[in-house]
């Protein structure tokens, strides 16, 4: 029946005499919530040692060992003092005659009831101690059992030499069980004081340079004292069993998921090698901030979006590829706002994820990893991203049946000028790229077409489709005063081209359809002749 008494299920109480950082309250140490328990206790940053933590057990226990993890994140403590008190326990059976197994079960069913009914049953010591009165009037009840200097980076494992079955394989410590080489083992003094322990007083006396007092984890391993009455013993047996079940459930879950992991592995090993992000990992135990909100996988390379959300690089790449299918520029999946260049790898989060993966019991080798310092990964992600953007700018390819059409919307819209077109390029270019190059070279040689400046060149969006021949692209000088188009072009990506080659937005199209004629040139058109065009507003033709 050896178990950890630092668990709220026992109705153990814990308090400290200082204020703690938000989310790092002292009750985390006994919390039943795994995430809270993992966080531990951290005092507010201005708190200096000495600080006291008082643990009071529901009934006297025999302490077998005390395990302490002296660090939370980068904060470390080194001086630790533990005192114990053995207050006289008032026999509960006198008060509660008719307590039997049923009441235990019913009290266990709901936490609230437990707390209430246990008030009468447990913690009924001769004095009511709290963290303030132990320093003065009840100081004499406490005996020092440990005073130690903790070595850096080691967890404390303090044994009671007087405990009969001190070495008990049954109990698996959460703190020290993982790596015995990393723990500092020493004996508790005055082991005889550790029978019938009702309270433990932990004093943090010294911290590492600049650190804040903290406790990463605390375990008080022991068993109920022998002279407890029958009810307490029954209760203790019940709780121990329950704790054991919970632990086994947890183990079972982990095993099950590793099994599915393995089977899935065999099924698609080849894919895995190329696409590491699709690992079915044990995401359930991972803090939600480390998990991609779109794919729910751990993020090997988190990228911070302008919207403030962080997603994985591979997710973003897939999203951009998908957007390209629709002929759109890369945009934030959460807001739909074009990304531009303000996409930054979240180096701080990556650091924390890596740390977490190293410390947590997660199969890291299955996950996609990036190596190198944070600055390295920043630059590679940047490069990648710039490459994507560049690709988008330079290479405008019609995807599927859709026609991607470059329009510089910074310029006022245009009117088709078939006959007297200054910027008309002689010869038929084979591709859009070629056409662009042509235009740029025209811009560089002003002698050829003096009235055309490259910066004012606008592809007229009149992609002529000669059924047989190559595409003919016309560029017009937008300086024409007749040029009136739809004023909303600047605001939208979705544009429509009428048979008369006017490009207008959806709103104007709705009006135009009702009137059945173009709003600019009053040419009649049929609804079926309207073609949707996609544009890239970022496309700029730059002069040299």
């Amino acid at each position: 029946m050896i178990t950890d008494f630092c668990n709220a299920l026992w109705d153990t109480r814990i308090e400290s005499d200082t204020i703690s950082s938000d989310g790092y309250e002292v009750c985390n140490l006994i919390s039943r919530d795994g995430a809270k328990k993992q966080r531990g206790f951290l005092a507010e940053r201005f708190v200096k040692p000495v600080i006291s933590i008082l643990i009071s057990f529901p009934f006297p226990i025999d302490v077998c060992a005390i395990n302490v993890n002296p660090q939370v994140g980068g904060q470390k403590i080194c001086g630790l003092e533990i005192l114990s008190a053995s207050l006289k326990y008032c026999n509960v059976q006198n008060k509660k005659q008719n307590i039997n197994g049923d009441t235990i079960k019913s009290t266990l069913n709901s936490e609230a009831v437990t707390a209430k009914s246990n008030d009468h049953v447990f913690h009924s010591y001769q004095h009511v101690l709290n963290v303030n009165n132990i320093k003065q009037e009840f100081n004499s009840f406490f005996n020092q059992i440990l005073r130690t200097q903790l070595a850096e980076g080691k967890v404390g494992h303090f044994l009671n030499p007087c405990f009969r079955d001190a070495v008990n394989a049954d109990f698996n410590s959460r703190i020290t069980g993982s790596s015995p080489s990393n723990s500092q083992i020493c004996n508790l003094q005055q082991g005889n004081q550790l029978h019938n322990t009702s309270h433990l007083w932990i004093r943090i006396t010294q911290v590492h340079k600049g650190s804040v007092p903290c406790l990463g984890a605390l375990e008080v391993v022991g068993k109920p004292a022998k002279n407890n009455n029958e009810f307490v013993m029954n209760y203790a047996r019940f709780i121990t069993l329950r704790l054991k079940q919970e632990r086994e459930n947890c183990k079972g879950l982990v095993n099950a998921s590793t099994e599915t992991n393995l089977s899935a592995n065999n099924a698609c090993k080849s894919e895995r090698a190329t696409d590491p992000c699709h690992e079915p990992s044990l995401v359930d135990n991972v803090p939600s901030e480390f998990v991609d909100p779109i794919t729910f996988n751990i993020m090997p390379l988190p990228i911070l979006l302008p919207s403030g959300n962080t997603i994985d690089n591979s997710t973003l790449e897939k999203h951009i590829a998908m957007e390209r299918n629709f002929g759109r520029q890369p945009c934030d999946p959460f807001t739909g706002i074009p990304l531009g260049s303000n996409v930054v790898p979240n180096a701080a989060l990556k650091y924390r994820i890596d740390n977490f993966l190293l410390s947590a019991d997660i199969k890291v080798d299955e996950l996609g990893r990036t190596v190198g310092s944070s600055s390295d990964c920043k630059s590679t992600a940047r490069l990648k991203f710039d490459a994507i953007l560049k690709q988008d700018k330079n290479k405008i390819q019609p995807v599927g049946k859709r026609k991607a059409c470059p329009i510089n919307l910074k310029q006022p819209p245009l009117k088709k000028q078939n006959a007297e077109n200054d910027g008309h390029i002689s010869g038929k270019p084979n591709s859009l790229d070629e056409a662009l190059e042509n235009v740029l070279s025209v811009g560089q040689k002003p002698t050829n077409t003096p009235s055309v400046k490259a910066s004012s060149l606008v592809p007229s969006s009149s992609l002529h489709h000669n059924e047989s021949g190559p595409r003919n692209i016309q560029f017009t000088n937008s300086g024409n005063p007749d040029n009136e188009g739809c004023v909303h072009q600047e605001q939208t990506d979705t544009l429509f081209r009428l048979p008369c080659q006017h490009v207008i937005c959806r709103q104007c199209l709705t009006c135009a359809v009702q009137m059945k004629q173009c709003l600019q040139c009053q040419v009649n058109f049929e609804k079926k002749d309207v073609v949707r065009v996609h544009c890239r507003r970022t496309l700029q033709i730059e002069t040299v």
Partner: protein, 154 residues
């Protein structure tokens, strides 16, 4: 296969979230949805105070292999298909987030909400003007239709 894993993981999460943070009037039909992850049926109640009050509809979701990067196929099924200017009598819905404006940040829940909000903003129960023609000629998959979204007020 890899894409399927992403989809499976994501759908599991979404199903979990739908159950834990259930919204009033949006319930997963668990018989159909849990048996196969690819097709879900969600019971949607018409919001109170609207034309569709006290009506029950069934929305069918089919998830492509590339979900969540590709949009799900969403349509009304069952006996009661709402009469609405943007919903065809075969259940197809004219809603931009279901094709062009889909984003992987959207979820089943948000799509359901959009549909409910579209229903709620309706002022007159009538079929789309080209309903008969469309229903005769359209493909079974609403995503194969090239929708032309024109009503920004919805």
């Amino acid at each position: 296969m890899a894409a399927n894993e992403t989809r499976t993981r994501r759908l599991h999460r979404e199903l979990q979230q739908l159950k834990t943070n259930a919204l009033p009037g949006i319930n997963v039909n668990e018989d159909i949805s849990t048996s196969s992850l690819e097709t879900w049926v969600i019971n949607v109640d018409g919001a109170s105070g609207t034309l569709y009050e006290e009506e029950q509809f069934q929305l069918q979701f089919k998830f492509p292999a590339k979900y969540p990067f590709d949009s799900p196929q969403v349509m009304f099924v069952g006996s009661n298909i709402p009469i609405h200017p943007h919903i065809y009598s075969n259940g197809h819905i004219c809603l931009s987030i279901l094709t062009d404006d889909w984003s992987p940040a959207l979820s089943v829940q948000s799509v359901c909400l959009s549909v409910v909000s579209m229903l709620s903003s309706c002022k007159e129960k009538k079929l789309p003007p080209d309903n008969e023609f469309y229903v005769k000629t359209c493909s079974k998959n609403p995503k194969k239709t090239r929708w032309w979204y024109h009503d920004d007020t919805v």
